[in-house]
């Protein structure tokens, strides 16, 4: 799993889905897009949409700084970029370490598959596929 930081929280996604990690660059905004979709970038000739995870999870809007990175992930046949505050680590998790996500109405669970503990940190495991629901629905 690849772990990354959003504000004070730690998240993790399946590393096999990750294509590359890039710095943040200016995007081109898209018409009538959801707020979390910042726009599209030119990734070596491909038009790739960029989703700001901080907006997606309604965290306090962090500023773009030198550590802001974009994780380019492959979801199905598509390529999508995720803006995060920083990439931390690559970790291996066993299934015992993972517990189901909290059943709380206050937390958006649509793309959270579980929680895991790693050296006092709580990792929130994300399902990348669910991110697409965001950009698919108009």
């Amino acid at each position: 799993m690849l772990t990354f930081r959003l504000g004070a929280e730690h998240y993790a996604i399946d590393i096999l889905k990750v294509q590359e990690i890039r710095g943040y660059e200016a995007v081109t905004r898209i018409a009538n897009a959801p707020r979390s979709v910042k726009g599209v970038i030119n990734l070596r000739g491909n038009i790739v949409p960029i989703i700001d995870m901080r907006i997606r999870f309604e965290l306090a809007q962090a500023n773009y700084d030198d550590f802001t990175v974009v994780i380019i992930v492959n979801v199905g046949a598509r390529v999508v970029g995720m803006v995060v505050d920083g990439v931390s680590d690559v970790v291996g998790l066993t299934s015992e370490q993972i517990q189901p996500g909290p059943a709380l109405a206050a937390i958006d669970q649509s793309c959270i598959v579980g929680l895991a503990t790693l050296e006092d940190r709580m990792l929130i495991l994300l399902d990348v596929q669910a991110l697409l629901a965001d950009i698919d629905s108009p």
């Binding site: 995007v27 081109t28 898209i30 018409a31 009538n32 979709v37 599209v40 999508v80």
Partner: protein, 642 residues
Amino acid sequence: MSEFLGIFVEEAREHLQEMEAMLLALRIDTVTTDDLNKIFRAAHSIKGGSATFGLNSVTELAHVLESLLDRLRDRRLALTTEMVDALLRSTDLLGEQISEHEGRGTVDARVVEELCERIRRLTESPASAASPIAPSTSTPKPAKPLGIEGVAFGFFDDAEATPASLATPPLPPSPSSIAVAESVSEPGLLPTEPRSNGPAPVTSAAAVAAHESSSIRVGVEKVDQIINLVGELVITQAMLAQCVDSAGTQRLEKLKAGLDQLDRNTRALQEAAMAIRMMPISAVFNRFPRVVRDVAARLGKEVDLKLVGEGTELDKGLIERIVDPLTHLVRNSLDHGLEAPAERIACGKPVKGTITLRASHQGGNIVIEVSDDGRGLSRERILAKARERGIAVADNPSDGEVWALIFEAGFSTADKVTDVSGRGVGMDVVRSNIHSLGGRVEIHSEAGLGTRMTVRLPLTLAILDGMSVSCGGETFIVPLTFIVESLRPSPESIRTVGSQGRVLQIRGKYLPMVTLHELLGMSAPAVGDAGVPEEGILIVIDTEEMRMALLVDALLGQHQVVIKSLETNYRKVPGISGATIMGDGRVALILDAAGLGRLAASQRRERELAELASAFPGATASPTSPALLTHRPRAQPELALS
């Protein structure tokens, strides 16, 4: 092995097409051994290939076919119309059998056996050669449609080939092909074969289209040209590298010359690469002799099909997608445009009607015309129908406005829906198909003289000429084909309608005016203030529904842009047809005029609904979704500005 099978299938399809074209061109009285030899060779190649790959059913039919052709070319038998029909039918069946082997669709073995039997009888019995009109009594023919029986059409006097061939023209999958298939399977007029109803024709059509898009055949000279150009590119690159390394006063000059050469090379290379995708439109046109022959026979009409400009080249992607709308237009012309022979004689016209398919290049467009010399569209009937359907029509509409009505959904002026089609049934689909290709359709019609449908398409789907404009800090591309003019408005030419609508007065006409970034739901521009129209530029664009004026900050320039899909990684965006990458590597969105028109219309409705809702706060049944309204709060302050 499977890769060779793929090659065989492709070649076999080519042979079949060739056979069909040659069979259609045959004139029974003037047939030459040379023609027959060619047909024989095609059949023989299919037989040989299919035997190699163990496609036994194909081999069997091809063998029977070959025997008949062999006797024909040896002059042991004389060619009859019945044979031509049987041969045509067998090309259809062979095609289906090949599809079956690829795992798509099924072929009824009984049908094949019947056909083989028929051909064998034709091969063996000299009687049929002597009296082509009288079929042997035991022929298990499907019943002929009664209306056509007994009417002599010379070359067209068959009804047998119609049911199957009409059900299985290799049309690409699209709503209108389904519509065609449905209208064709109208019961009653034609003998219903088990194969021709149900979803089978549609699935096989889908499969065929998938097959077509998988590969492309290119002339060697086109490839050679590209290789040459790549060679030149390498030389230029070396030259540039040398320039950079070298010292001296002329270095910059040399560099400049090298860059110029690079520019020329890339342009030529681009053109050469595009040329690979270009195919002559004869690939489309060649289907029509068969379509016309079958439909004309069914309708009891005599038709001459003229093909003009078959060598005109257009993009392969377009070729595949234009077949369907064109087929529809041709069928329409046949069914409704052309009069029945009796009526034609009464009008003093030649008995034989003419349908002309014409392709040509005009500027950056390809223009395809389908014209007939039939009765033309009836103004009164279309207007009456429009009134009946409650479509708003101007008091004294121009012809063009009237003809445009037949593109309305579900609009048909046909007195009765025939088994071919009603004029207007599916015309809305034709138009939307053509629009989706970035083209448009125009109608010219004169009562008693005929109708001409003109389809204008861009040469290719991959590149377009566009005007780049900046608006709200972003760059957009407006396709040149949509731009009517652009102007810097004077304050007095802009009027307001109500509190929110603005219109532009131009040469006595009022056009609705919208601010581009407002329409696209983007935040207000950081620099400049497009809210004040006098400081921006207005681009008048022609959308499907209306003309409108689009307010942008500035025009940047005219480019050829390479279209990239937004859908690959994102999704379809209303008002945007794609994206492109600008010289600086940034992405620019390409506007879609038709979509913008719809977007503007829907936003207007929304706004009206929202106003209604705010006027009556108690009313909660507003159908507008909150998501669609999110751009409103941002848009409002600006509107107040104006």
